[in-house]
């Protein structure tokens, strides 16, 4: 759920609750206010009535007049009573013949004494219909609630579109960000302090990351270069040592072992350098290449080597033209072929086939003991073969990634199968 939707939901909930609660509360207060107003006017009328009654108390037939008044005036009751009560205000329901229904009235009643006789006097005023009052209130409040909800929703929509635009812009750039690509994050000024702050921090962070990445890459490249000269010193000294006539067989073996170490280090160095160069996009010359042609000549070179282990090549290669850098293609195919030969069982077979935009290299061999997913990672070795550097397939993967090819591996019918799709 989006941030604005979350905040909107709580806001809406609160606003609707407020509107609902306000209906009974305002009803209660409005009623009290109305009653107080009516009570004031009723009290005033009662006072006047009592004063006027005192003026006419001396009249002989006042008693009859009071009876007549009780009958004629709807709003006033004067009835003989047994006792004198105090002034009391209350709300009563009475039948309204005009409207043909019961209607609410506010009534004040009090006991009075006229010529020594006790009477109960009540004066009434019609009240506004409660139901109508509630109805109107609910209507008004409901309207308010609807306006509130739609208003908030519309505002939210335009806000999330306008206000959050720089945020989503930055987010999509961050998602696309790759430390090894030369595309930096370009944010626009949003005039919102938090967003500008965020953008600035992100820009700083990504720039720094890239800087560190570049430095590291440069370091690998320099270190690889610098190591080649000491290795050359090492190798040349070994070559000198070999010429000594007095060498024993053991010493000779040690020299050969050392020489193999030098060669392995040198290969490792060259491969690291190659990875770094691919990262640096130093292979930019693109030309039309026939994969079949390249594969055939590489296999031709490998055949005598593979033959030592009794490994045979079977090929089914049709011309397959792609536009690519020839060095990279050669490196990729060499690594795949060498990998296949290295992991083929004695007297096994390596099969190379090409098809519609793909080349497939299969070799007979025992199933993997390692996780196939780790295969393309650097220095993940399956083989006990000490000559393997563990970088070959990582280079294949890197070349595929940078050129938009895919490389797949699966094990089927006792064969390791690698497929590169161009």
């Amino acid at each position: 759920m989006r941030l604005l939707q979350v905040s909107l939901r709580s806001l809406m909930l609160y606003a609707l609750l407020l509107v609902l609660v306000s209906i009974p509360v305002s009803f209660f207060f409005i009623e009290r206010l109305l009653n107080a107003d009516v009570d004031k006017s009723l009290g005033f009328r009662l006072d006047q009535f009592e004063q006027h009654l005192k003026l006419y108390e001396s009249l002989a037939d006042i008693e009859t007049d009071l009876a007549v008044m009780d009958r004629l005036i709807v709003d006033i009751d004067i009835l003989p009573a047994d006792q004198i009560t105090k002034r009391v205000f209350r709300t009563v329901e009475r039948y309204d013949s005009l409207e043909n229904e019961n209607r609410p009235y506010r009534e004040v009643s009090t006991g009075i004494i006229v010529q020594g006789k006790k009477y109960q006097l009540a004066i009434r005023e019609s009240l506004l219909d409660n139901n109508k009052l509630v109805g109107t209130l609910v209507l008004v409040q409901a309207l308010l609630a609807i306006l509130l909800a739609t208003g908030l929703l519309l505002l939210n929509r335009s806000l999330s579109r306008k206000l959050w635009k720089p945020f989503y812009n930055t987010l999509s750039q961050l998602k696309a960000f790759q430390v090894d690509k030369a595309v930096s994050i370009n944010t626009e000024k949003s005039n919102i302090i938090e967003f500008d702050d965020l953008n600035e921090t992100i820009q700083h962070l990504t720039e720094r990351n890239r800087q560190i990445y570049l430095e590291q890459k440069e370091f690998i490249e320099n270190a690889s270069h610098e190591l080649q000269t000491p290795l050359a010193v090492f190798q040349s000294k070994l070559d000198n040592l070999m010429q000594r006539a007095s060498l024993t067989e053991d010493e000779a073996q040690e020299i050969i072992d050392l020489e193999e170490v030098v060669q392995k280090m040198s290969r490792l160095n060259k491969n690291l350098l190659l990875l770094s160069k691919i990262d640096n996009n130093q292979f930019t010359d693109i030309e039309m290449i026939d994969i079949a042609q390249t594969a055939k000549s590489l296999i031709q070179n490998l055949k005598p080597v593979a033959a030592v282990e009794g490994i045979a090549f079977r090929t089914s290669i049709q011309p397959l033209l792609i536009r690519a850098n020839s060095t990279l293609i050669e490196v990729m195919l060499t690594n795949l072929f060498q990998n296949a030969v290295r992991h083929t069982t004695k007297n096994g077979t390596v099969i190379v086939e090409t098809g519609e935009q793909y080349i497939r290299i299969s070799n007979t061999g025992e199933p993997l003991t390692m996780d196939a997913g780790k295969m393309f990672k650097r220095f993940q070795k399956e083989t006990k073969n000490e000559k393997s550097t563990g970088i070959g397939l990582a280079i294949v993967k890197k070349i595929c990634d940078t050129n938009g090819y895919t490389v797949d591996y699966h094990y089927k019918d006792a064969m390791h199968v690698f497929t590169v799709t161009f």
Binding site: A232, D239, Q243, P304, Q338, V341
Partner: protein, 224 residues
């Protein structure tokens, strides 16, 4: 034969010099571009080994200086930077060969021999020892007046060994010379052994002497 080594890593220069001297080359060493330029102007060398990355400037400048002074010395670039651009730039400036560090000394010897042959003897393509005659251009080998039929690998092997005659050549150096990067895949001894066996057999069948001696544990030696 005079050789100049231009290499700032003193130990490497010393070690190469020692190996070359035992091949009876006359060797001089320069540790900087400046020193190298002085030597180049003063003397003629049959072959110059040039490291491109020198402390006082790019070694390619030395090549330019040679060219400007119309010097005919053969040049082999030895470098830690095995990049295509450097290789192309070097060869375009008139270098004769290019060797990436680290390298086997027998490989360097073979390359120096080829450069000198090209420069000195007008590209003569014949190598002769006693009864063996090798024609590098025609890729033919004669024992006396009898031609023997060698495979490509056997031929390369023979040429490589004769270039390093009387020196021990390790099986690693041979394997790398014969199959380049693929050398890492093989059991070197098995691979070389089969070629070596065939080569020796063919030479002996034609009446040649068996010059190739096995140096136990290390490799082989072409003893004349």
């Amino acid at each position: 034969m005079k050789i100049l080594i231009i290499e700032d890593e003193k130990e490497l220069a010393k070690s190469i010099a020692r190996y070359l001297r035992e091949e009876s080359y006359i060797v001089e060493v320069a540790h900087s571009a400046h020193e190298a330029e002085e030597k180049i102007l003063a003397f003629d060398y049959d072959c110059i080994l040039l490291d491109i990355s020198l402390p006082d400037g790019n070694g390619l400048k030395v090549l330019e200086a040679l060219k400007k002074n119309k010097k005919e010395d053969g040049v082999i670039i030895i470098t830690a930077k095995n990049s295509l651009e450097d290789r192309v730039a070097g060869l375009n400036l008139g270098a004769d060969d290019y060797l990436a560090k680290p390298f086997h000394m027998p490989e360097l010897i073979a390359r120096i021999g080829a450069v000198i042959r090209r420069k000195k003897f007008g590209g003569s393509s014949r190598i002769e020892f006693n009864e063996i005659a090798i024609d590098l251009m025609a890729k033919t080998v004669f024992i006396g007046d009898k031609e023997i039929d060698l495979t490509r690998k056997e031929f390369d092997l023979l040429v490589f060994l004769t270039a390093n005659k009387n020196r021990v050549v390790s099986k690693n150096a041979i394997a790398e010379h014969l199959s380049g990067d693929n050398a890492e895949l093989l059991d070197k001894f098995d691979f070389i052994y089969s070629h070596m066996k065939n080569l020796k057999r063919k030479v002996q069948e034609a009446g040649g002497e068996d010059y190739i001696k096995t140096v136990y544990g290390l490799g082989y030696k072409f003893s004349v």
